[in-house]
Symmetry: C2
Subunit: 236 residues, 2 copies
């Protein structure tokens, strides 16, 4: 590589949820020449089949490692994704911040990625946040990613010693259709990913939650056949 | 309270390790009028008796809640505090960043505090970082705390909706002796705190690690009797 002090090949940490966006992000990181270390968080989310999907995606795209950290974020409550008492919405886009927003989730996941990056000597963290489809989530905005990067460079040994840590969010301004086209070009098998907020135990999508709706519309807009396994659609 | 939109009394999240600094920080937050919610992290640290100390301190200082989150940060390795293959130093201050530095620890703990703050409607997070004694730790510097605060205000629903989140580090520029004097004035019982990196199972300090040395020197400099229970000192 051009920077002499970097290991060859350079390592990147990739946050991998098992969904469509993070799978595409992993493919982009690999295409950029990184040796990819994938990190998933088991935070008590309802959609645990995502973690199985993450393992499949990491293997499918040749990641060097895949680690799942357990953290009982559900102890805090406050989100439909971790709190059984809040219903997952199925009625299209709401105004404001959705109830599926998990407080500080991206900040927590990026912080964990930062710790692993520091131990591995990696200066690059990839995250599949998207500001287009998830405009209601404060931690999916470009200004948030930039602020996290600034903080990370002050937080760490690498930053203090002059190495520049980069937080890469390659999907942040792409539409779902753009993301799907990009991933298809890079060989992503979207049939093994799970985006649904309430997939069944076999990983089959409900087809009606916000995440399913955005995903289905994305495949349609991209002109790509939707390989998602759908369960029955009781609420459709 | 003077700010009408705040809940009465306002809530603060206090990061509580069970050591001298965080106990003092809790006393300061309480003295500032906050209803205190204490958060400890069980991250696989060697000094687990700190967590027992944290519970004692939270109760002693009238905290409204104390929660311990479990996170296997030791999976990442890279620190003498979580990795059994790295020795805890007992030979005084080293130059540069100490091996007891845990990668991204403060960033991870502040991120978790941020999540809980958002769920509880709290706008104030207290952390006992100190830039004087721990000058080798990048995440104990004022510029780091300021950067985290900026990021936090972009990351969260509260920040987006115009509420200002504050990260308070009241000890950051104090000497250990100043901290001890401040805590004594606020009624902190330092005999129930544990600062030692390798305390025994009864919470007795080794007396020789860097943390013990700074603590002992602090009591001496403050002219306050040291109530720390010490075990034998094989390395002294």
């Amino acid at each position: 590589m051009s920077t002499p002090s970097r290991p060859i090949p350079p390592r990147a940490i990739v946050l991998l949820s098992g969904g469509l966006d993070s799978a595409t992000t992993l493919a982009i990181a690999r295409d950029a020449g990184f040796d990819c270390y994938c990190l998933s968080l088991d935070y008590g989310q309802r959609h645990r089949v995502e973690l199985d999907a993450a393992a499949r995606v990491a293997q499918s795209l040749g990641a060097s490692a895949h680690r799942v950290l357990h953290l009982a974020l559900s102890d805090f409550g406050g989100s439909a994704l971790t709190d059984e008492s809040i219903a997952v919405p199925v009625d299209g886009v709401q105004s404001g911040i959705p109830v599926t927003y998990v407080p500080a989730r991206n900040t927590i996941m990026l912080s964990l990625a930062l710790a692993w990056a520091e131990v591995l000597g990696s200066r690059d963290i990839y995250v599949g946040v998207n500001a287009v489809d998830y405009s209601g989530y404060p931690d999916c905005r470009p200004e948030y990613i930039a602020a996290f990067e600034s903080m990370a460079n002050l937080a760490t040994k690498a930053g203090v010693e002059g190495a520049k840590l980069g937080i890469h969010a390659p999907l942040i301004k792409l539409s779902k259709a753009d993301i799907i086209r990009r991933g298809k070009a890079l060989g992503v098998d979207y049939g093994i990913t799970v985006s649904c907020y309430q997939a069944d135990e076999h990983g089959r999508a409900c087809g009606v939650c916000d995440s399913c709706r955005l995903r289905r519309e994305g495949f349609a807009a991209a002109g790509v056949d939707d390989p998602t396994p759908y369960a029955g659609r009781p609420g459709a």
